[in-house]
């Protein structure tokens, strides 16, 4: 679906070919108004953040008229095949991924699954945290895990220690998970009796931010060893977070972690995100995290008319 206008019309998105007849009419009318053409051109870029349709068809034909007029003066009078024309598209580049993500979301909702997308830089402790979460949740929230890495199934093996069913996606050279990969992986998971699906994304604080997988919540990890200013360095990722999990809090003292600074930086970028301070090693913060997930699952279940 188009993020801007919400049109969500992948196949039949109106393309501006029909407008091209109008353009011709305008072309001839405006040909003499050289001042206008130039004015429009330069105003458009910085001036129009919302990118409404109207400036485009009018602006571009003006630009090209002049170049055409010098060369093939007669052609535009025929069918217009030779003339440059503007096709308005206005579709999200990741339209295909967004649609597949919505399909996943529908599938997950129908099964009453709460779905979390875990994101962070490599080495911030996603796998350990997920493993300990699964143990902590136990039978109250039965969990399945999908884990993405470029190579190896090491993480899947570590996660299996928790007793949860795990599917490993190896992406090869791809630096993020996409909705299509999750859609395929979930087919390999026996979802019977599961309440929670955790997707551990590829360790990367940049690219996965752009790809919706069909999750209910984005959980972004920040370990105390990474520096308090990480949220400021990677705003797109932290801005998209529903929850920021501060991990490895047991190491806070050893690495001179400045708690106030870290929390203030998270607030600046992601003011709506819930923050949990945790340690997979000592279990600190896991009770609060567990309560939060149980509550989220309960809320979603009560919203589902089929449940």
């Amino acid at each position: 679906m188009c993020k801007d206008c919400g049109c969500g019309l992948p196949g039949e998105t109106p393309i501006g070919v029909s407008a091209h007849h109008h353009e011709h009419a305008h072309e001839h009318d405006h040909e003499h108004d050289h001042d206008h053409s130039h004015g429009h051109e330069h105003e458009h870029g910085p001036g129009d953040h919302h990118g409404h349709d109207h400036p485009h068809p009018h602006t571009h034909p003006h630009t090209h008229e002049h170049s055409h007029d010098e060369g093939d003066h007669d052609h535009p009078h025929e069918t217009g095949d030779e003339a440059r024309r503007t096709v308005e598209v206005r579709r999200a580049i990741l339209d295909k991924n967004d649609r597949l993500a919505e399909r996943n979301r529908g599938f997950f909702r129908a099964r009453g699954l709460l779905v979390l997308n875990f994101l962070s830089s490599p080495g911030s402790g996603k796998t350990s945290f997920i493993r300990e979460s699964v143990r902590k949740l136990g039978p109250d929230l039965k969990t399945g895990v999908i884990v993405g890495d470029l190579a190896t199934d090491n993480d899947a093996q570590r996660l299996r220690e928790s007793g949860a069913p795990v599917v490993q996606i190896t992406t090869g050279t791809v630096c993020h998970l996409e909705a299509e990969m999750v859609g395929r992986a979930v087919k390999q998971l026996d979802l019977t009796g599961l309440n929670l699906l955790i997707i551990e994304n590829v360790g990367n604080l940049v690219c996965p931010a752009s790809y919706d997988l069909g999750e209910d919540m984005r959980i972004v990890l920040l370990s105390v060893t990474e520096g308090e200013d990480k949220p400021l360095k990677y705003p797109p990722m932290f801005q998209s977070a529903d929850v920021v999990l501060i991990s490895k809090i047991d190491l806070a003292q050893a690495c001179d972690y400045d708690r106030d600074k870290a929390l203030a930086n998270i607030r600046r970028v992601a003011p709506k995100a819930r923050v949990f301070e945790t340690s997979a090693k000592t279990g600190q913060g896991l009770d609060a995290w567990r309560e939060f997930l149980l509550q989220q699952h309960q809320e979603r279940k009560s919203l589902d008319p089929l449940a």
Partner: protein, 113 residues
């Protein structure tokens, strides 16, 4: 490096649309890229040059319109633009939880023959 795969998606969408419109050549591909999209325009340009040879868009221009991050401040009841991508209102300094623009990654339009 995900600009390469983003550009691949953008180009395949653009070429589909161009063919549907009966294009023989694509002159310009216009994208709108939000400041909070996580996409670097220079890297898109690099990917574009690598991907277009041999297609209808060979030699075409890539025009990227940057869309700044805009938030809604509920306290001041107004929108503000944030050039550093932080959500803090410049007037009341209260962080905003409502992003209004800045995550766009959109194929806006094409110029074709």
């Amino acid at each position: 490096m995900h600009e390469l795969s983003i550009m691949q998606s953008a180009l395949s969408l653009a070429l589909d649309q161009a063919r549907q419109a009966g294009a023989v050549r694509v002159h310009t591909i216009r994208l709108r890229i939000g400041a909070l999209s996580g996409v670097v325009p220079d890297a898109l340009e690099f990917a574009f040059e690598a991907l277009t040879p041999g297609t209808l868009a060979e030699g075409a221009e890539l025009a990227v319109e940057r869309v700044p991050a805009r938030f809604w401040c509920a306290t001041c009841t107004r929108e503000f633009q944030s050039d550093d991508m932080f959500a803090e209102c410049p007037d009341c300094h209260i962080p905003s939880g409502e992003l209004r623009a800045g995550r766009e990654m959109e194929l806006a339009s094409l110029e074709i023959d």
